[in-house]
């Protein structure tokens, strides 16, 4: 039996569930890199993307195929029945007759939870508007575990802390691991205070210069142009949140730099060739972690236990 029926929100998982998935992901790494297996042979995954996505959709597709399963896609929704006005509830009811699990990305918050109430097969939330994106959080945790240390880690989150759902879910999950969290952002993109209600853990607003020499992880997010009233303001603010070689020269040798990608100019390309840069590795880790999730939701009881 699977530990959970759907994956809707990181809040639905216990620390034990998370650690279990991270450990499973580690076991799938060689398969993620090409070793053949048939764990999910005969299973079909449906990708339902009502919003564009490159890496999330492709990494789910890769994960499913590496596990020996098949993938069906609905991406160009202009061409499908959605454009004719079909409800999400009906789309889900129909597709759950075709596939053994559904990956859903949808612009409305709570759509994945609603989909799970209308589905006969597991739903995996691949982002619901400004809401949840639990597989991103799991791959972030996995990257920290693999490239640094998760338990007790000192992590600085930098950039748009107000609107970034990636950051919001990650903070919640990190507080389970006895971490110290530093928040670095322009004043108008600060983490909303009510977000910290009910969270316990060491969380502090700082400047990068104050903590660069002691952190284990620097997690950088994109500052989006559309958050600013005008281009001038955007350029002024975003320019002061750029990571370059000069800044990271003051960091610990083991400090890692992460980014959910795509980056614009938050991380100078100069940093790419340093040992600190782990953002492309992070993108790769999306495959084994999604394999672990798919396997957990679709396994029949035999397989690679």
């Amino acid at each position: 039996m699977s530990r959970f029926r759907h994956l809707i929100s990181i809040d639905d998982l216990t620390k034990d569930d998370i650690l279990y998935l991270l450990k499973q992901a580690e076991r799938f790494e060689d398969i993620a890199m090409g070793k053949r297996c048939k764990y999910l042979e005969g299973k079909i995954l449906a990708n339902l993307f009502f919003e564009p996505s490159t890496r999330t959709r492709m990494s789910f597709e890769t994960a499913m195929k590496r596990l020996g399963g098949d993938v069906i896609n609905m991406t160009a929704h202009e061409a499908s029945s959605v454009a004719k006005g079909e409800t999400l509830a009906d789309t889900i009811r129909v597709v759950s007759n075709y596939a053994d699990a559904i990956v859903l990305r949808h612009p409305l918050e709570g759509s994945a939870r609603f989909a799970s109430e209308n589905s006969t097969v597991p739903i995996i939330n691949a982002g619901d508007g400004a809401g949840q994106h639990p597989t991103q959080t799991l791959l972030d945790l996995y990257t920290i575990m693999k490239e640094s240390t998760l338990e007790g880690c000192k992590i600085a989150l930098m950039g748009d802390l107000k609107y970034s759902r990636t950051v919001h879910s990650l903070i919640k999950a990190l507080t389970l691991f006895n971490t110290t969290i530093y928040l670095i952002s322009p004043p108008m993109l600060k983490l909303p205070a009510e977000f910290l209600e009910g969270l316990n853990g060491r969380i502090e607003e700082v400047e990068l210069e104050d903590v660069i020499s002691e952190i284990d992880v620097l997690y950088v997010t994109r500052i989006q142009k559309e958050r600013f009233p005008d281009e001038e303001e955007y350029k002024k603010v975003s320019g002061s949140y750029v990571i370059n070689r000069n800044i990271i020269s003051r960091a610990k040798e083991s400090m890692i730099v992460m980014h959910p990608l795509p980056r614009i100019n938050e991380i100078d390309v100069d940093v790419d060739s340093t040992e600190h840069a782990k953002y492309f590795k992070q993108a790769f880790y999306g495959v084994p972690i999604r394999m672990a999730i798919l396997y957990e939701l679709l396994k029949d009881g035999d397989g690679c236990e």
Partner: protein, 154 residues
């Protein structure tokens, strides 16, 4: 009874009396109970009347009908101090305080325009109710929006 001379609305023979409603919210109480324009219940209501316990209060009396506990407990969303008296033949046969339910469906409207519960899907709004520093608060089960002052969203 010694408070007869203060009664603003008459006693009922059989039915449900909701007393100690937060002043000014009786109309919302009716709404929560599903009593709307063209409803057939015999209802009397008093707003902002004097109360020894609360200063001012509202009262709602529904004649000839015993409203179920589950329905009545929803009143706690906006009037946690409300008390219920079930009346039979002018006598109180049961008296209790309302308790907020853990989950309410289709009563609170989520203020988040991007919440799936505000779309044209076949969906009921659903909120989890909790007490925080003795205030009743709610969280949207779909988008996670937290609400205080629930009376603004009913």
């Amino acid at each position: 009874m010694n408070d007869v001379k203060h009664l603003v609305i008459s006693k009922i023979k059989d039915g449900t009396v909701i007393d100690h409603i937060t002043p000014g919210l009786a109309i919302l109480v009716l709404k929560i109970l599903g009593i709307k324009p063209k409803s057939s219940e015999a209802v009397s209501m008093a707003m902002n009347v004097e109360s020894a316990k609360m200063g001012k209060k509202d009262i709602v009396k529904v004649e000839g009908k015993y409203i179920g506990d589950q329905e009545l407990n929803k009143i706690a969303l906006i009037a946690p101090e409300a008390t219920i008296n079930l009346i039979q033949n002018y006598e109180i046969i049961r008296k209790f305080n309302v308790k907020p339910p853990e989950v309410v469906e289709n009563i609170i409207k989520c203020p988040n325009p991007n919440c799936i519960s505000n779309s044209n899907e076949p969906i009921k709004s659903r909120f989890r109710i909790f007490l925080d520093e003795s205030r009743v608060k709610a969280v949207c089960d779909y988008c996670g929006r937290k609400l205080i002052n629930l009376e603004d969203y009913i």
